[in-house]
Symmetry: C2
Subunit: 369 residues, 2 copies
DNA sequence: CTGTTAGCGCATTCAT
DNA sequence: ATGAATGCGCTAACAG
């Protein structure tokens, strides 16, 4: 029923081995022979059996891209960019040559699903795995991840972090592209302070997320530098981890979605009606914050300034346009894709920090009077 | 080096076949034996070899979800919803039981890449394929797609269309969920007409796309019913295809992105400064249209009404909130996922039309004077 | 309910 | 440059 490599060999009057060599192109074959084989392939409409091929070769052409929430353009943009570097443009014949199958896996931000996907990819003997987005900072989960990733790396799977710091205990076998969330957060709040804001609310992302923590730390750095920090400088020294912002009345945590932005902002305005600016964990949250501010009868930026993070495409279309921090998602995603393909060398030290650029637009202004 | 099923069998003191049966759970095994096997699996940290398994069973646990542009939340939302029905929640152990690997493939709207991905999935012996988004209406490509899909279906791959009409010549082996783009488009324009608009611009999507054509056809149906159509009723009868709107000065085509919305709107305003309303191909395009209208010094909706399509999450946050047509993306995606898993029976006739609901918000109002 | 036996389709030694 | 032979790790009949 289904045509196999042997059928192609028979039709081309060569051995199966030769057909295999032609298809994989990693071995010298006479031009005339190759031609004959290729024609037989087309005539028979032969499609390689991936599982058989992977079994024999002990590697597959699958590349997994893990994202927290594919419905969020933040991840969609990065994943799409990565995929362009991996999928290969195809040759228009639909025949599918040596390209890899880049696939996106949606973890929904759940640690369990993240591990499950990793196992699934391990099971498929994936050629590479790209991990995007903030990591969950739970010791047990981090340990499990490190163990799982070590096993994957062991089996020859290339590991790339994109927009995410590498795991603390992770081996150097991986490349990492980390966004400068801390620096971006700091510059954003510095901007607000320089405008004259003194009471700044912060609608943060979910706790136990590196992204959340880093952006918040940047924010607090700026506050502290201006002598505006509400809380003591926090626990540990150098490390900077374990910082406890839980009691800051000007900080409210919630998921990275619009609804959370809306509700957290209402909560914030209730707690501290005197805030003159609100920084949101990201642009989506900022949109919700804007809606909440308006529903309270206040104008942006005259009554309250609002700022976001990421600079997603819709941010410039908000009214007023959103002041935010631009992350080069397309570039980062593409680079991660290239790293996963081994088309590009890992950065020195295995980890590169990607700059975040402050985008000042209409949603922030000096406070009234 | 790598632990195999035989190792597990040895440790559990059973035959490899028994281990296989425990793992696949599709065969009776004594509880005590199962327990023993499972423990051995955990002890040895065994992970099934997917390729070997797929080869022997002649099917894999891969499910492909094809999307035009994963950076567009329209697709991200649908794909994410589909994936939740397919990926399985995991059991928290990260062990990965019988769940399928739902993967998203980004075609970028390119017919070639679409075919390439299909071939790649065919090569992997995918269990199912979900095709989302509008199809390209090019005869050659449609024929190639039909042939490829027939081959996939032949090989036992389940085919599901989501938010996309089935191919004309396609076999009944597939299930299809089609959005009522035509009806939605018609109701949207009827709404504008009922507000008193007579000169309505249309920023359409790319040509040769079913989605583009259907929405536009709905628009023109409404115009025609009100005696407002600019062009003759078009070529063919019944079929409704081959309708040529190319010469309508009030229609401008472009990609489904913000930039196109912006530029097409400027073009439209240049061609017909007397339009009092603009209908955009989708919400993203509408955002660009809004920006263009504003940049021309006009207010929405006082000077010009603007409407979108899809009701993406950000649409309600636009200022003013966008009048649009709501498509139940999450429900449709989830249903497609269930169909792909065989968890739900196909609709009668294999094809279900999904209703589109008009959402009237602040961006549309009666024209001045 | 469990063990035994045979391939699944291909990549890869080794020969030639 | 090509052919022949071997095994990748697992599942699916068959026994029993």
């Amino acid at each position: 029923m289904t045509v196999t490599l042997a059928d192609v060999a028979a039709r081309a009057r060569v051995s199966p081995a030769t057909v295999s060599r032609v298809l994989n192109g990693n071995y010298p074959v006479a031009a005339s022979t190759r031609e004959r084989v290729l024609r037989a392939v087309d005539d028979l409409d032969y499609v390689l059996n991936g599982p058989a091929s992977s079994l024999a070769a002990a590697t597959s052409d699958l590349v997994g891209i893990l994202v927290n929430d594919i419905a969020d353009p933040f991840f969609g943009i990065m994943a799409g960019a990565a995929q362009t570097q991996i999928g290969g443009p195809g040759d228009g014949s639909g025949r599918a040559g040596g390209e890899k199958l880049a696939v996106i896996c949606n973890t929904g931000g759940s640690p369990e699903r993240e591990l499950t996907y990793l196992t699934l990819l391990q099971r498929q003997r994936a050629a590479a795995v790209v991990l995007t987005g903030g990591a969950v900072e739970n010791p047990a989960h981090q340990a499990a991840m490190a163990a799982k990733l070590a096993k994957l790396a062991d089996a020859g799977t290339r590991i790339v972090f994109c927009g995410r710091p590498p795991l603390p205990e992770s081996d150097a076998l991986v490349a990492a592209l980390a966004f400068d969330n801390r620096g971006g957060g700091r510059r954003l709040t510095e901007h607000l302070i320089s405008l004259g804001h003194r009471r700044i609310g912060y609608v943060a992302g979910p706790r136990e997320r590196t992204t959340t923590r880093h952006r918040l730390e940047g924010h607090r750095e700026a506050l502290r530098a201006a002598g505006l920090d509400v809380l003591p400088a926090g626990g540990g020294p150098a490390a900077g981890s374990g910082e406890q912002a839980a009691d800051d009345p000007l900080v409210v945590h919630g998921p990275y979605d619009r609804r959370s932005g809306y509700e957290s902002t209402l909560e914030l305005l209730r707690r501290a009606p005197d805030v003159t600016a609100i920084v949101a964990a990201n642009d989506t949250v900022a949109l919700g914050a804007c809606a909440a501010v308006r529903d309270q009868g206040m104008r942006i930026p005259q009554d309250i300034s609002v700022a976001g993070f990421d600079d997603l495409p819709f941010s410039v279309d908000a009214v007023p346009a959103l002041t935010t921090v631009r992350l080069p998602l397309v570039e980062a995603g593409a680079r991660a894709g290239r790293l996963a393909m081994g088309k590009e060398n890992p950065p020195p030290g295995g980890i590169a920090t990607i700059a975040a650029e402050l985008m000042i637009r209409g949603s922030t202004a000096a406070p009234r009077g």
